[in-house]
Amino acid sequence: MQINVETLFQILVFVVSRGLATTITLTVASFFLGLGLGSVMAFLQIVVGGIVERVVDFVTRFLRSIPPILMLFIVFYGLNINNILASIIGLGIISAAYQSQFLRGIAEAVSARQLEAALSVGLSRWEAFTSVVVPQTLMMSTPALLNEFAVLLKDSSIAYAIGVKEMFTVAVNLANARMEYVHPLIAVAVVYLAICFLISLLATLVSEKLKHMGYGVSS
């Protein structure tokens, strides 16, 4: 079968205009939910420790074992909320589990080096944490965070299962209407590729900058 580039382009514009905004909303919102919640979880594990650490660990293992679709169903049908909110919460919670893992790892690595120095200069534990550990952790986590953002971008397509009109859903609905899947799928794939490409460019730039600043990357 022939692939008509003009059709491809038209479909691409269609899909982007109707679905991109929602896709980006889902991605950004769940990313920040994950970041916020993940930071809290990492904080609890590092600073509070003890039994809390074990509990949070257990919870993250649990959240990392569940399929995203199932999570979306549970949130959507369990708490009776609209589908976009359900998607954001479902994807966000799962993302929090993953983000807490690497945030914690990096924070601990940074602490090992910098905390003693900060305390010796006279900063209190809290000040040391907020002005030394947290900023450095965020800086060094940037590549991992960008990666997580890309993952959420792709996972946002799962919201199709609960009827959210993001890009993938728009493309599939169009394909059903036209009774033809090749063009819509290729078009939507191109959009995802383009965004992922931008993200990885950004990640490379950041990695270079970090290396320059003396933070060797080892991910």
Binding site: P67, P68, L70, Y77, V182, L185
Partner: protein, 226 residues
Amino acid sequence: MINEILELFNTYGSNILNAFVLTLQLTLLSFVIGFCGGVFIAILRSVAPRPIAIAIRLFVELIRGTPMTVQLFFVYYALPVAGPKLDPFTASLIALGINSAVYQSEYLRSAMNSVPKTQWEAAISLGLSSYRSMIYVVMPQALRIALPALTNEMIYLLKFSSIAYFVTLPELVYTAKWIGNRTYAFIEAYTIVALFYIAMAFAISEVMNRLGKNIAVPGIAAEGMR
């Protein structure tokens, strides 16, 4: 709630069991396909001439840059235009398998690069061909280094086997929804299925960790897990 759950098991036990088997099959088979494909791609990328290596790289970026859903739909709905129509299981297997092969090839490549180049030099100095040096010296070490990443990959496949829901394969998530639709006991159904996933994920990491301990060699460090 416990009552409802036991009820569900009673009535729909066989459906759930079948779904469990399907999920397990999808997970394990796509991991194996992904592993073989991954090794193949990783080795090919290091020994193939430039044009082929670049083509492979482009393919890898294509798979990594698009959602699994798009890939599955492409295999199930778009490919039949050029070939045979695939059944849901096979289509899911192919999509998951190719996706996994690409990601596993990346983990393996990273592990292969962690093996010091001097190991390879020592091998060829003995008279081993490039091919044999790869198989008997580099890969055994790379595989041990990559083990944590491969374990994560298997768990990822376990979770994303659920994507077959979209092509109406009666795996666990599809079955849960199906039961929910018939009984309105959604939460109970989802809980059962969630527990299955958690148990399977736990089993997988236990088995892989056990395997890791068995083949561990002092001096080769496995990279940290995600």
